[in-house]
Symmetry: C2
Subunit: 626 residues, 2 copies
């Protein structure tokens, strides 16, 4: 019943280099095809293109005017004009051929026509003046572009001008994608319990298209060895490379490695990279077959670290370097010596340079990729980095997008996302980059110059006031500005119908609680209320179960993983939970004084005060505006 095999742990750089050399040795390489020049833009030439004809291929008038023999015009001037008779000139438009008996053109602006058909000219032309002579642009036989050139729009034009109506280009590789698994289903909006939405094929196919590869997504294959074997065989016949999604590990239903070994050869199984370890690198004849881990983040890493190189190998091109920036690390990162780890980070740019803040490291958290601005690599022989270390970050977005963002770090509320959306759609739009690190995280980030602003809701448990005393304590010399935000209704979210009859904070011990992370304003409120109510923390089941957002707490209560938790009204409303109101807290904006007057900060504050924001807050519920 419980079979288990161990994976190898091969250094990923070494494995990749050897693997690419192996498949290359087996003849994995692009074939070529001929495409019409009109469709060649963006393709890579497999051989040099030479002009078949000259351009122009005849002597063409470069102007609207009259074609003449230059020698007939010699001596003409304003004081001594020359009159050309019929038969001494031909009317030509731009592009018209120059008759054999002429060799130059006089512009229409420079002549005077008379009723008798003669024309008067006021200046001479020299031979071939105002004529596009044969070959002016392109000469027959000239190389227009060498092999390996990526065709540009202008090159398409030059090829056609040179009489080249089709070009030989590198074939685009077709990569077969086989999703596998008993539990996975094609994308739906309402999966049943136990059904996992299959989205990796879409992600990987989209990545492949960015690397100039096409993909063919096969139907989902159930975890039956013979079915998967047949699917892999078929794909190897139809495609240039094959990806088998999931089943690449060493579990009970993990057949990928065994099937590749049967049909061909497994070169590597298990790479020293996190996430991404359970990858299989193999080949069936000269078709690379890759077992890509099923966890989306692991899968993306293997796509990027391995499959991208396979596509480059196909094209015999260098793997493109990513852009990198140097950044200060916003918090400590600990990693194992056993593997290279790739950590998604957000990047914010302030006057102190770039700050990288690590995101969730779970292999299943695809949003760590959608929120990420870059990747921090912790090498295999490193235990990690300290907060404040200078590290190199590989960019996942364009630098200009990161540089131009307003950096918000601190307590999370959906209203920040709504403000970002309103700003994105406005005329002078900019990106809002927000990290959710809790109210105390905002204080720390601003003290270190790592954010432009942050939201806080910090209760002074002595005075009962919000925020002010914290600002005085942590910024004794000023340097920040506290701006009134919104009033936000905090309370206890409980399951629908409040089955445990929770009426006040003291009742949280009646069920399983779900907590917020240390440093968050809601956690501070929670701990204050625990002390005020004289509750023993050990009595609270689930006190150590920490989540990072209001919706995460609400989701767990709605799912039955917990019975109650502190949070804001809008989250309870969204999940159809009952809500026991406790207080209205002051959710304010703490702004680094340096940036207060900047356009972005002012525009953000204007957005918060604006009509659109008001409408959205009213729809969400649980906010009071002043």
């Amino acid at each position: 019943m419980l079979k288990h095999n161990y994976l190898n742990n091969t250094d990923i750089e070494a494995a990749r280099a050897e693997y690419i050399s192996l498949i290359s040795g087996r003849g994995f390489h692009c074939s070529t095809e001929s495409v019409p020049t009109q469709k060649a833009n963006g393709r890579i030439l497999s051989r040099a293109v030479y002009a078949r004809i000259c351009s122009p291929h005849y002597n063409a008038s470069a102007m609207d005017g009259i074609a003449v023999r230059a020698s007939d015009t010699y001596g003409a001037s304003e004081t001594d004009p020359i009159v050309l008779k019929k038969g001494q000139y031909d009317v030509v438009d731009t592009g018209d051929p120059i008759p054999a008996c002429r060799d130059s053109v006089i512009m229409v602006e420079d002549i005077t026509e008379r009723a008798d058909g003669t024309v008067t000219i006021l200046s001479a032309v020299h031979p071939w003046q105002n004529v596009r002579q044969v070959g002016e642009d392109i000469c027959m036989g000239d190389m227009i572009a060498p092999s390996e050139t990526r065709v540009t729009p202008a090159l398409c034009g030059a090829f056609l001008a040179g009489g080249v109506t089709s070009v030989e280009v590198k074939k685009i590789p077709l990569v077969g994608i086989i999703p596998t698994g008993d539990e996975i289903v094609s994308p739906v909006s309402n999966p049943a319990e136990g059904e996992i939405i299959e989205f990796n094929s879409t992600v990987f196919s989209s990545m492949l298209s960015q690397w100039d590869a096409e993909s063919l997504i096969y139907p989902i294959v159930k975890d039956k060895k013979e079915l998967l074997r047949a699917a892999v065989e078929k794909a190897c016949e139809e495609c240039d490379a094959v990806l088998v999604l999931a089943g690449s590990s060493a579990g009970r239903d993990d057949y990928t490695s065994a099937i590749i070994a049967e049909l061909g050869e497994v070169m590597f199984h298990g790479l020293a990279v996190k996430p991404g370890k359970p990858a299989v690198l193999g080949a069936v004849n000269n078709v690379p077959v890759i077992g890509v881990p099923g966890y989306p983040v692991s899968g993306i890493v293997i796509m990027d670290e391995i499959v991208r190189s396979i596509v480059s190998c196909w094209y015999s091109s260098e793997v493109r370097d990513y852009c990198c920036v140097k950044a200060r690390l916003g918090k400590r990162v600990v990693s194992s010596l056993k593997y290279k780890e790739l950590i998604r980070v957000t990047l914010g740019k302030t006057d102190s340079g770039y700050v990288a803040v690590p995101l969730g490291r779970g292999a299943g958290v695809i949003t760590s990729f959608t929120k990420a601005d870059g990747i921090l690599t912790v090498p295999q022989n490193s235990e990690g980095f300290e907060a404040g270390d200078e590290v190199e970050i590989r960019l996942l977005r364009e630098k200009s997008q990161i540089d131009g963002a307003l950096v918000i770090t601190g307590s999370h509320d959906p209203l920040i996302d709504e403000a970002a959306d309103i700003i994105a759609g406005s005329e002078n739009s900019f990106r809002v980059s927000s990290s959710h690190v809790g109210s105390m995280g905002a204080v720390t980030a601003l003290r270190n110059g790592q954010a432009h602003l942050g939201f806080i809701h910090l209760l002074d448990t002595v005075s009962g006031e919000y925020n002010k005393s914290y600002v005085e304590k942590y910024f004794p010399d000023g340097g920040v500005r506290l701006v009134k935000g919104v009033g936000r209704i905090q309370g206890i979210m409980v399951r629908k119908g409040n089955p445990l009859g929770i009426k006040e904070f003291g009742d949280i011990t009646k069920g399983r609680y779900v907590n917020r992370q240390l440093g968050s304003g809601t956690r501070i409120l929670c701990d204050y209320l625990i002390e005020k109510n004289g509750i023993d923390k050990a009595e609270i089941e689930g006190y150590r179960n920490e989540e990072f957002t209001h919706t995460a707490v609400a989701a767990l209560i709605a799912a039955g993983n917990a019975d109650c938790g502190l949070g804001i009204y809008s989250a309870a409303k969204m999940y159809g939970l009952d809500f026991v109101e406790l207080c209205v807290e002051e959710y304010d904006v703490l702004i680094d004084e340096k940036y207060y007057a900047t356009e972005k900060v002012q525009s953000f504050l204007d957005t918060l005060k604006g009509e659109k924001m008001k409408e959205r807050l009213e729809m969400m519920g649980g906010y009071t505006l002043e």
Copy 2:
């Protein structure tokens, strides 16, 4: 017969700003459409995307193992294992739902199974350990991405994970392209005299696709006003914007402006830009209609300066800045105060930084765009720049491509292109950037540190030796290395059958001559032979008709524009010309000593000596190898 109207000369920045504001005011703006998430990669969201379900949407095992109740495991250790009976656990694979009576998972590696169906565990788990709880990745209701986001592969995955199977995106604009002209024909490889190959529609359509616009190319419309009017009307009904190619000037057959005025409104006709002046900016209802000049270079400029902004206006996005570099200008550029001029340049990078060398400025020379690395802008109120001035160059290629190129400046020979092609296809490929400025151009460029190497064939008219004395004269302190290249047969190219009976250099006065540019080795040879033969230059018809390459000279003789010209055997052979051999010249490589030992220069020299090069030279003919 010869109608002529004058164009306006409106400042292009002002015209663009006003035009964009006008069409925007008329409601030119993207509509939106819903697309399946699987096809959304690269599209721009027109509204924020919120998760419809949590991901995971049920509590899922994060491991292969057994699902247990955490409280049943408390106290287990290696010395004090706990035995779980049947009914106390369920076997689960990664992704399986956790049964309602369990709350955690023990990894398969950490358990021992017994024959009686019990399992022994050696350590405890806490609630929700090894479980992906509901919402771990995405919480229902969370904003996954704000509006205006360009969808990435990872976002496609996150949307699908959040139950979002389709997204609302900005519609891609459809731009109609109407080629016009009596003389133009669809691409063929053998156009008749007077037929001009219509390639602008391909160039512009390829440019549009790079800006996220689709295009519909209409059949070619003859220069008949009623036909063009009908075509424009139809396109305005079917497309979001319309380009009318050629006919935008003020000549006899230039109807574009009049037709737009009849159907709608012409806002601008004639812009102060070179090339590109005869553009028409108009609109029919809320459909922008642009008259794009027929000369390809002018057309590309108007596409880039105007049409790109129209596409950005559609998307309400900023027009993307191009990357720029600072460069020294390789030679003087004179421009008029009347317009802004955009000059194509090649860029080379040496230790002295970037050098920009202007290319041909003709509006009809599309190869000036295919060879160009960047664009130099001469503002409307400037007369140009001096050689050596620091100028800003807008890049047309990626910077890495320019930075990594071997910079060859000097005499041209097709063998340089062949070498570049061989290198492009080799394992350690790099780009070769070559400018054709003649042998003396190579000397100047190397003296100024503006090239890595150059080819020269400079005859010392006193000693009869090639190259050596020039190197001694121009590089008295050394700093360069002269490397033997090839022997190249020079002679007089004459029309097939040699109708004028040209037997020796003195016979060139028998017909029309075509010369090479000053500073080229062939011109030096020509002038030497003129003097040696005691010929009066004034006797040579066409002496001032200068071309820049051997093939250009050959093409003109083949076309009958000239009767003879000096050049190399391979060019005469290619054009089927007769050839009167004069001498074998030494076509050598002059290399800046600083770069001699670099990998690129050595690889280039190896290529020259290689078998592939030998084969190609033999096929071309007229070279002697040592």
